[in-house]
């Protein structure tokens, strides 16, 4: 089938009433949760996870993906108007909020929407062009290669994670252990179940994600977040229009951001957060007058936004073709697909061309929907930001608790989400990032399975793992990455955005 036939198939799938509806639902709810302070993309995807159990896999994936990029779009609104640092949009605060204070919020919102659209479209094109050949290469992989790939994914996540590599390593390993909870498929031995029958099937990733990202965030922000004031009437039609100077400064930044984002989205441990930070640092370094950054430089807003959205789309390449999640959100989506009996991997595109191409086309539809939400209807979202946090957080908590309950209709899961929420809060206090844990959760069982299979094939010879050219190269690269990361000690020291958050967090 040619490329255009595939697109036609995708359009056929994506334009069914049901899938259009789920796409709309996904991007709209994602945007909503992105705008709401203290929720964010991971929590958004997890809360809606139970809904996907009742709908076909293509609709479920379209909706979850919509939640993801919808939340990335939405988060920037809060960043610009109220200086709310979301995970995906922390760097957009640095120049977005100063722009808003100079009365240029409208321009910032308009240009970030354009930047998001550009980044997304390029990301989608890359996904459509490169996913099939990557899958074709991956089809030649055998168990040792997969084992090496998972190791590479793990080291990449350690090397690229924010903060100290030792900490992210501990987190990823902890995630792997939690992923092993339940019945061991090979030996039928229940592991770490402590005699609790609900644990036999393992702990749902939705429970863990909602605890670590949702409940932990609420605990940390409840009673702390003081949202400033913003008036919807400040954002007029006229205020959206950029000046000629804005456009001249923005477009090269958007192009660079898109390029960086597309690249970092594919890397394990990369994803949109890292992409946006790197895009910001790059803009600052390349700028003729770096002093403008932090004072409302439009390049510092559009480049990270383009990067985040491009990365968001390209992160689907490794997830769908290799079955390797690169960030916590794709980890949750991967788990959702597995539950539906669809396993992403090299066979995925051939076995389910309707799901893959339907998803690609739905990305285009979803992005157009988001532009519509963000340009004509921007005031609606601005108004949402005026809802005080003391009203939002109990409402979000109710959603989380009921969302968790509906996964298995089990109140034990509700208690577990609290346990993981407290653990997540403790991790925040001790400066452990929860993102690598979620990646490890998916990688752990995969790694064990491939290791086991490889060792059976090689008759227990560990060295055979590195003998194949593909696995050998990947293991060597992983080793080099690890050495490089630990020698640098602090990992890649991305110039941490020191956040001026006086408005968002009052002491």
């Amino acid at each position: 089938m040619s490329f255009w036939n595939n697109l036609a198939l995708g359009a056929e799938v994506a334009f069914t009433t049901q899938n259009l509806l789920y796409c709309f639902l996904g991007v709209t709810l994602g945007n909503l949760m992105g705008v709401i302070p203290g929720v964010g993309a991971v929590a958004a995807v997890s809360i809606l996870l139970p809904v996907t159990y009742h709908i076909p896999p293509s609709a479920g994936l379209i909706m979850l993906a919509g939640l993801y990029y919808g939340a990335v779009y939405g988060a920037v609104t809060g960043a610009i108007l109220l200086n709310i640092p979301h995970t995906v949009s922390a760097v957009e605060c640095l120049d977005g909020y100063p722009m808003a204070r100079q009365g240029r919020a409208g321009v910032a919102l308009f240009m970030t929407t354009i930047a998001s659209l550009c980044g997304s479209i390029v990301g989608i094109v890359i996904l459509a062009l490169f996913a099939p050949p990557v899958a074709a290469i991956a089809l030649t992989f055998e168990s040792p290669d997969y084992f090496a790939l998972v190791v590479l994914g793990m080291t990449g996540a350690v090397a690229l994670a924010r903060g100290s590599p030792i900490r992210s390593f501990i987190m990823i390993l902890t995630g792997m252990l939690i992923g092993l909870v339940g019945m061991d498929v090979t030996s039928a031995q229940p592991r770490f179940t402590f005699g609790i029958s609900e644990f036999i099937d393992g702990i749902s990733i939705g429970v863990i994600a909602m605890g670590l990202f949702g409940v932990a965030e609420l605990i940390a922000n409840a009673g702390q977040l003081r949202v400033g004031t913003v008036k919807a009437s400040d954002i007029t039609w006229r205020s959206l229009l950029p000046t000629r100077d804005d456009i001249k400064r923005s477009w090269p930044a958007i192009v660079r951001g898109t390029g960086l984002g597309s690249f970092f989205g594919v890397l394990p441990g990369g994803g949109s957060v890292l992409a946006s930070i790197i895009a910001y640092t790059t803009e600052k370094q390349m700028a003729a007058e770096p002093d403008r950054f932090g004072q409302g430089a439009i390049e510092g807003v559009v480049a990270p936004e383009a990067a985040a959205n491009a990365a968001c789309q390209t992160s689907f390449v490794p997830m769908l073709t290799l079955g390797i999640p690169t960030d916590p959100i794709t980890a949750v989506m991967l788990a959702a697909l597995l539950i539906k009996g669809v396993s992403p991997g090299p066979d995925f595109i051939n076995a389910h061309p309707d799901i893959f191409w339907g998803l690609v086309v739905s990305f285009v539809i979803g992005n157009v929907l988001l532009v519509i939400w963000h340009i004509p209807f921007i005031r609606l979202w601005v108004r949402l930001l005026t809802v005080p946090f003391d009203i939002l957080f109990p409402s979000v908590l109710v959603l989380i608790c009921l969302g968790v309950y509906t996964i298995h209709n089990s109140t034990l899961d509700v208690l577990l989400v609290l346990v993981f929420g407290c653990i997540g809060y403790g991790m925040r206090l001790l400066r452990f990032e929860p993102a690598p844990l979620l990646i490890g959760l998916v990688l752990g069982p995969l790694m064990e399975t491939y290791l086991r299979r490889s060792l059976i094939v090689s008759h227990g010879n560990v060295l055979a793992l590195a003998e194949r050219p593909i696995s050998g190269t990947m293991l060597l690269v992983s080793a080099l990455i690890l050495i490089w990361t630990f020698r640098k000690r602090a990992g890649i020291k991305v110039e941490g955005p020191s956040q001026p958050n006086s408005a968002a967090r009052a002491k």
């Binding site: 924010r162 030996s187 009673g223 452990f432 990032e433």
Partner: protein, 154 residues
């Protein structure tokens, strides 16, 4: 997220975090060592978890050592007990009462109790919020999604 991006972790954060990691690793080892280890040819269910647990212990020790070495960064760890307790109590009450008392009382309690995390708790505002949220949740989860929970069962 803001505090994470700032200065490197303090000595106390390294010490406590590292010790917890070591303790966690040892606990996992204690449990996993009871599972059959198998051989390299046929890995038993205990093999992989034990390897990971040993790695966690080693990495935890590394954190402890770096915590002992540096005296830098005296950032104290401040737990917001009010938020932790209010949210924990709210969720526990919700979990206990959802299937026994029904969705409506459970949700009302969750909103009322968890909102105590806010230092200036305003009863009227919270009461209105609880009623509105409960009504919406009832519509969404019972009427639309039809989860097997009764609204009120006494």
């Amino acid at each position: 997220m803001s505090e994470i991006a700032k200065s490197p972790p303090s000595a106390a954060q390294n010490l406590i975090g590292g010790s917890l990691a070591v303790a966690f690793g040892i606990a996992v080892l204690a449990v996993a060592s009871h599972y059959p280890m198998g051989s390299l040819l046929r890995m038993g269910p205990g093999f992989f978890p034990c390897v990971i647990a040993v790695l966690i212990v080693l990495l935890g020790l590394a954190l402890v050592i770096s915590g002992l070495r540096s005296r830098a960064g005296a950032s104290s760890i401040k737990i917001q007990w009010r938020s932790v307790l209010a949210i924990a109590l709210g969720v526990i009450l919700f979990a206990v009462s959802l299937e026994r008392a029904g969705l409506v009382p459970a949700t009302l309690m969750l909103v009322l109790v968890s909102s105590l995390a806010e230092p200036n708790w305003r009863p009227h505002r919270v009461a209105v919020l609880a009623v509105v949220v409960t009504a919406l949740v009832y519509l969404l989860f019972v009427t639309v999604l039809q989860i097997p929970v009764s609204a009120v069962s006494l």
